[in-house]
Amino acid sequence: MTKSINRRDFLKVAAVGAAAMGATQALQKAKASEDVESGPNQWVMVIDQSKCIGCGYCTLACQAHNDINPDIQWNRVLAAGEVDGKDIFLPRPCMQCAKAPCVEVCPVNASYYRPDGIVMMDYDRCIGCRYCEVACPYQARSFNWKTFDGTNPAVPKWGQPEVARRPRGVVEKCAFCYQRIDRGLALGLRPGGDADATPACVVACPTGARVFGDLNDPNSNVSKLLKQNVSYRLRDDLGTSPRVYYLPADAEKMEG
């Protein structure tokens, strides 16, 4: 015994619906880090593949300073073929993309951009849906499948934990050791210059293959390196605009 809906009512409701749809469209502005007001610093990392010897110290320092579950690695060192018979490696932290797929897809805004370009995780907000893992082209994200309550084998040899352990059930990732940057800046240090204000992996690298600094500062090491050398970024074709640059391996510059 329903009254049938007449055309006018239908149009009325449809118009409201269309308006709502328009509103959601308006809200769906592209979510790139350009939307976030850029701060005075834009942190980037430059990795010189001619210098990387694949020792994995960076990974160990990362595990210790960020107190990472041994099942998880934020920072991996991959074999990347050879040049002139010499093995080359590719260390892979989080790319801190300027147009990060993970930030785009997160249903709860647990991934977000900092004004300095770092892609951050809010571990208190993450619901553990793992959509970001699916969306990341660099496999830079790891899920906490298991509670990590044991001892960290990398501590104390490779450093002391500086951040809280992540709970089970959330996705975690590298954030350029933001805690070191922030504390360093507060102490008047210069990230990329002073070790205490620089990501642990950069400090730990025995060959100086990793360089960290501010792209907004034309005199920073990273700005100079990128000006003087040919560089590339991983999967640039995807349009993610990574903040990690690589200087391709040059056999002549390599030792051994």
Binding site: T2, I5, F10, L27, P107, A110, Y138, R141, F143
Partner: protein, 422 residues
């Protein structure tokens, strides 16, 4: 007390109905234990990995939502297009939808790492995320479904006796059916498509990355959702006298399903064929995985032959469509085809691991097989759906094609309906 229970138990007769309930009860108890194990231990006891973080549960979630699409489609047909004679089928579909969406919620609750934070998407909005959009729409649409189902629950004898006023109010909500149908249409079209787009926008997975993903999800959901409603109605009518169907009505809707399948086949054909051209790392391997790799059987038999072609022919052919058995087979196959499509879609994009090393990306393969605990809990979610539907058929007359006509002629008055039910 215990003695009382004993005598009560011994007086229970073993009937197919109690056996069915017992069987579902066993599945539910096993799933409950499994679910507690998952919440207690965390997701490491599943076979999900960082490379394949979405598996069986997501497939159940996607399938439940897709197969609930009969609700919005048929409600729109009845209340907006004005095909009033299908109202009793829409009624069943609404109930199926309510069950389907709660099933989806259950499997998602298992799947997310922090089920205690399930409400975050409602509070912390990322309007750009398709998963946020899906979550919001699903929650809102579930609300719509609850209101749409109120008149069904109003028919529950117990409620009518105990709370006649409440039952009358719930029954009265039927008057708002057209408005609810509009809301349902709007929300469903959004999230059914968005679920496809959830996959379709992921550039890191080239086999998913295509605009037609949302269209295909939406389309297959409509076909599969209607089919499930019809199938469940026919099956209920065969098994119990509590369910009464108008076979002619079901046949007509089945004929619509037949032609919808023709359209579906057309879309799938071009979707698959177009991807055959040029080599694109990831996409080409994905297609191979589906058409000649480990998923080939699922694809060719599950999705195309049994899921689309056979039911299409069975339902287009007058003789088999008229024949209740063959019609049921066809509708059941469509449902299976949609589930196979959801499984294949999810897993095909995840099984390929595309390198990010410089140069042309190379593609490696990983594997995934659901663990026992995933099967047990997944079966429990399905058992819950079957139980809810069975109870609905028995106590709420959710499959009763005489219902609307009676309501129509008796001019409601909740009390008089009580006599009809009795």
């Amino acid at each position: 007390m215990l003695k009382n229970l004993k005598t009560k138990l011994s007086s229970l007769k073993i009937t197919p109905w109690t056996m069915w309930l017992g069987f579902l009860g066993l599945l539910l108890v096993a799933a409950l234990i499994g679910g507690i194990a998952v919440f207690w231990n965390g997701l490491w006891i599943t076979n999900l990995t960082d490379l394949v973080p979405w598996g069986l549960w997501i497939t159940i979630d996607l399938s439940s939502i897709a197969l609930s699409a009969g609700a919005f489609t048929l409600c729109a047909a009845v209340y907006l297009i004005g095909l009033r004679r299908y109202q009793p089928i829409a009624r069943t579909a609404t109930f199926v939808g309510l069950i389907g969406y709660t099933m989806a919620m259950l499997s998602l609750l298992l799947d997310i790492g922090r089920p205690d934070r399930f409400w975050h998407a409602l509070v912390y909005w990322n309007e750009h995320s398709l998963l946020w959009e899906v979550t919001m729409c699903v929650v809102l649409y579930l609300t719509v479904l609850v209101f749409e189902s109120m008149p069904i629950f109003a028919g529950f004898d117990w409620l009518k006796k105990r709370r006649p006023k409440l039952a009358a109010w719930m029954s009265h909500l039927h008057h708002y059916a057209p408005y609810l149908a509009i809301a349902g249409l709007f929300l469903s079209m959004l999230h059914q498509s968005s679920l496809g787009a959830t996959y379709g926008v992921i550039k890191a997975r080239p086999f998913w990355f295509k605009p037609e993903m949302s269209v295909l999800f939406m389309y297959s959901a409509i076909v599969g959702g209607i089919s499930l409603t019809l199938f469940a109605s026919m099956l209920s009518a065969r098994l119990t006298s509590k369910a009464r169907i108008n076979d002619g009505l079901i046949e007509r809707v089945s004929y619509f399903v037949a032609w919808a399948l023709v359209g579906y086949l057309y879309f799938r054909f071009w979707d698959t064929l177009a991807q055959n051209y040029t080599y694109q790392p990831g996409r080409t391997e994905g297609l191979q995985l589906v058409t000649s790799g480990p998923l080939a059987f699922n694809f060719w038999f599950g999705e195309i032959l049994l899921g689309t072609l056979v039911p299409m022919i069975l339902l287009l052919t007058h003789a088999t469509r008229r024949h209740p058995f063959w019609r049921m087979v066809a509708l059941g196959l469509v449902v299976g085809g949609v589930v196979a499509y959801r499984w294949d879609t999810n897993i095909s994009g995840l099984l390929m691991v595309i390198s990010y090393l410089p140069g042309q990306p190379t593609v490696a393969y990983t594997s995934y097989r659901p663990s026992l605990i995933e099967f047990i809990t997944g079966a429990g979610v399905i058992a819950y759906g079957l139980l809810a539907f069975s109870l609905g058929v028995k106590y709420l007359r959710v499959v009763d094609h005489r219902y609307a006509e009676e309501e129509e002629t008796e001019k409601v008055a909740v009390k008089s309906v009580e006599h009809v039910v009795a």
